[in-house]
Symmetry: C2
Subunit: 356 residues, 2 copies
C-alpha cells in the first residue's frame, strides 16, 4: 500500500458536472420540485462524489469498526473497565453487538480492525490484526502516540478504505470501539475547533457530575500540554493528533481520507468519527465534501465538530453508543437518495401533467 | 367486514407487561443502558402494541396509498391540475413514483386504494377500487362529504387495515395522494386542535405568498361554516370530518383505527396522515398509542397535529411530498428497534463486563 501522503495527494474535488446533471434530473421526476428535501441534496452530493449521474447506490459491503484502547482511562474518565474493549471485539466477531444487528439490517457485514487494543487478540473471523501500538499513553500526562505510530494508524485506515473499495464497496461506513474514547475525541475537537473543554466534553456512556468535571479537567490538561487551542492552521495537525488522539481515531481519519481519495461517500457515525473527520479535514483539506453525517450523537462535541465541518446529520435519534450504529441507521436514507434518481419516472415518461 | 363502530369498540390498550419485559431486556444487552436512545423507546412501544416481548419485526408487506380528489381545488389552492391525482395513481400502479422506489427500498410493495378519485379509473394491478364518492365537494362552500360517505370511507380504510393484517402485515404504513389535500388537512387540524388557520396552513407543493393568503382564507371559510374551532370534545368528530375532510383522509383515519384495533403499529407519514391521525384519535380515543410518526413534514400543520397527539417523528429530512415517502424512509428505523431486542447478545451471553 502507498504511504498516507500519497493518499492525501490523490484527493480531488467532487465532479460538478455530474452533480449538476443529477440536480437537473431530479427536477424532471414526478414530484413537486424540491419536495424530497434533504434526499435531493444528498443525491446531488453522491453524484458529485462518484462523478456519475445517476450516482451508484452506496453499498458498503461491510462496516469497518476500528478498535483501540486509551491510556487516559487511568484518570477515571469512564465507569467501564478497559478489558471491555477486547470483550466487545469478541462480541463483534460473534455477531452479537448492536452494530452487528444494525449492519445486518442494512445488508452489510462487520469487519473489526484491531489498530490499538491493549491486549493481544486471537485470530477470529472478521478480525483484521493491524495493531500500531497496544493502547495509547495517558494523554493527560504525555503524548498519546508517537508521530510514527500515528502515521502507521492513519495508514491502517487508509489501506482499509482502499481495500474495501477494491473489493467493490461504493460507500464506507465508519465504526469504532474503545473504552475511554470520548475523552480523546473531546480533546481533538477542542484543539481543532478552538472550543473550550466544557463545551465539547460529554457524559460518554453515562457518568455523573463529579466524573464529568474530572473528565473536563483531563481534557484541559491534555490541551494545555499540547499547546493547541484552535490554532491548528499554524500547527502541525499530525502532531496534535499524536498528542491527543486515539489509535482508532487516527485510523478512522485515514479511512475517511482514503474514502475521499477513492471518490466514495463516507458515512460518518458519532462523536469518535466526527473527531476523526475533523482531523481528516485538517490533514487533507476538502475531504469533508465526501462525508455524509449519519447521526447527531448526544455528545456535545459531536455537534461542535459537525458545525465546524459544515455537516448536518441525517438522523437525530439520541443515540450515544458509537460502533457505527448511527451511521448504519442512516445508510438506508443515503441509498434511498441514489435510488430515487435511478428509478423514478419523469413527468414525460409517466404522462403526468406538470404544475401550471 | 364489520361496521366501523365495531372496529372502534375492539380498540384496547397496549400491553404493559410486554412493554416492561422489553424494557428490562434492553438493559441486559451489551451496550450502555439507554445508549440506543429513541430506538429503545420505540422497541418498548412495539412490544406493548404487539403484546409480545421481544416484539415482532414490523413488516408491512405493502404501503397502502389512499387516493381522493378535492372539490376545494376550485378555490385555486394548488398550482397542480386535478387530473394529476388520477395520473399519479397510474404512476403508482406502474411503479414509477417516489413511494414505489422508497417502498421497494424498504422491502415493501404499494397498493393504491381509490376511495375518492374524481374520474373513473380502469382496473390495474395494485389498484383497489373502493370509491365512496368521486371527489369531495368544495369545503369552503359546503360540507365536503355526507355523513354516510364519510362512514363508508372510514370503513374502506378500516377494512384495508384488517385485510392487510389478515394477510400477515405486522405493521401498517400510511400513504396518500390527492391534489389539493393539504387544504382539508389544515382545516381538520385547525378544527381539532383549536389553532388558527395561518398556524396550520402551509405551502403544500409550493405556492407563493398571495396563493398562501388565499388558501388561509379558504380554510377559515370552511372552519366558520363548520363552527368548529378546537371545540371537538363537545362536537361530533364524524360531522367535523364530513364537513372539512377528504375521502382519502377519512379512509386513512379508518386505517389507523383499524391498525390499532388489530394491535399492529401504524407508521404515520406527513401532514395528510397526521390530519387523519388527529381525526382517528377523536373518533377512537387511545389509538395514538399504536402510532409512530415517521417523518416531520415541512407543512406547519404537521407539527401542530403531532404536538397535539404527543408524537415525535423519527425523521426530519425536510420532505413535503406525502404518498407515504416519509413513513417509508422511517420503516428501517422502526424495524431496527425490534431487531435490536431480538438479536443482540446480553452481558451474560457474550461474557462482557458490566460497568463498575
Amino acid at each position: 500500500m502507498p504511504p498516507f501522503s500519497e493518499t492525501v495527494a490523490r484527493l480531488g474535488r467532487p465532479d460538478e458536472a455530474a452533480a449538476g446533471a443529477t440536480a437537473a434530473h431530479l427536477d424532471r421526476l414526478t414530484k413537486p420540485r424540491g419536495s424530497l428535501g434533504r434526499l435531493e441534496a444528498v443525491a446531488v452530493q453522491l453524484a458529485g462524489i462518484a462523478g456519475e449521474s445517476p450516482p451508484p447506490v452506496p453499498e458498503p459491503g461491510v462496516v469497518a469498526v476500528f478498535a483501540g484502547d486509551h491510556g487516559v482511562l487511568a484518570e477515571g474518565v469512564s465507569p467501564w473497565p478497559a478489558e471491555v474493549t477486547a470483550q466487545m471485539v469478541a462480541n463483534f466477531c460473534a455477531g452479537g453487538a448492536a452494530i452487528n444487528v444494525l449492519a445486518r439490517h442494512a445488508g452489510a457485514g462487520v469487519v473489526v480492525v484491531d489498530v490499538g487494543v491493549a491486549s493481544e487478540l486471537d485470530a477470529a473471523d472478521g478480525l483484521v490484526r493491524a495493531k500500531a501500538r497496544p493502547g495509547t499513553a495517558n494523554l493527560a500526562e504525555e503524548p498519546a502516540m508517537t508521530p510514527e505510530e500515528t502515521t502507521t494508524a492513519l495508514g491502517v485506515g487508509a489501506d482499509m478504505a482502499a481495500d474495501l473499495v477494491l473489493k467493490g464497496a461504493r460507500c464506507l461506513v465508519t465504526g469504532d470501539m474503545g473504552i475511554g474514547s470520548t475523552t480523546p475525541s473531546a480533546a481533538l475537537i477542542a484543539a481543532f475547533t478552538g472550543h473550550a473543554a466544557p463545551a465539547v466534553t460529554g457524559r460518554g456512556t453515562g457518568i455523573g457530575d463529579d466524573e464529568w468535571a474530572r473528565k473536563v479537567r483531563v481534557v484541559e490538561r491534555g490541551l494545555a500540554r499540547t499547546g493547541a487551542f484552535g490554532a491548528v492552521p499554524g500547527d502541525d495537525p499530525l502532531a496534535v493528533l499524536a498528542s491527543l488522539g486515539g489509535l482508532e481515531i487516527a485510523a478512522l481519519a485515514g479511512f475517511i481520507v482514503g474514502g475521499a481519495a477513492a471518490r466514495v461517500p463516507v458515512l460518518v457515525d458519532g462523536v469518535i468519527a466526527v473527531a476523526a473527520a475533523v482531523v481528516a479535514e485538517a490533514l487533507a483539506p476538502g475531504c469533508t465534501a465526501y462525508c455524509v453525517a449519519g447521526h447527531r450523537s448526544s455528545e456535545p462535541g459531536a455537534t461542535v465538530g459537525l458545525d465546524h465541518l459544515g455537516l448536518l446529520p441525517l438522523l437525530d435519534l439520541e443515540l450515544r453508543l458509537g460502533e457505527g450504529t448511527g451511521a448504519c441507521l442512516a445508510l438506508p436514507v443515503l441509498q434511498a437518495a441514489a435510488r430515487i434518481v435511478r428509478e423514478m419516472a419523469t413527468f414525460d415518461s409517466a404522462g403526468v401533467s406538470d404544475k401550471t
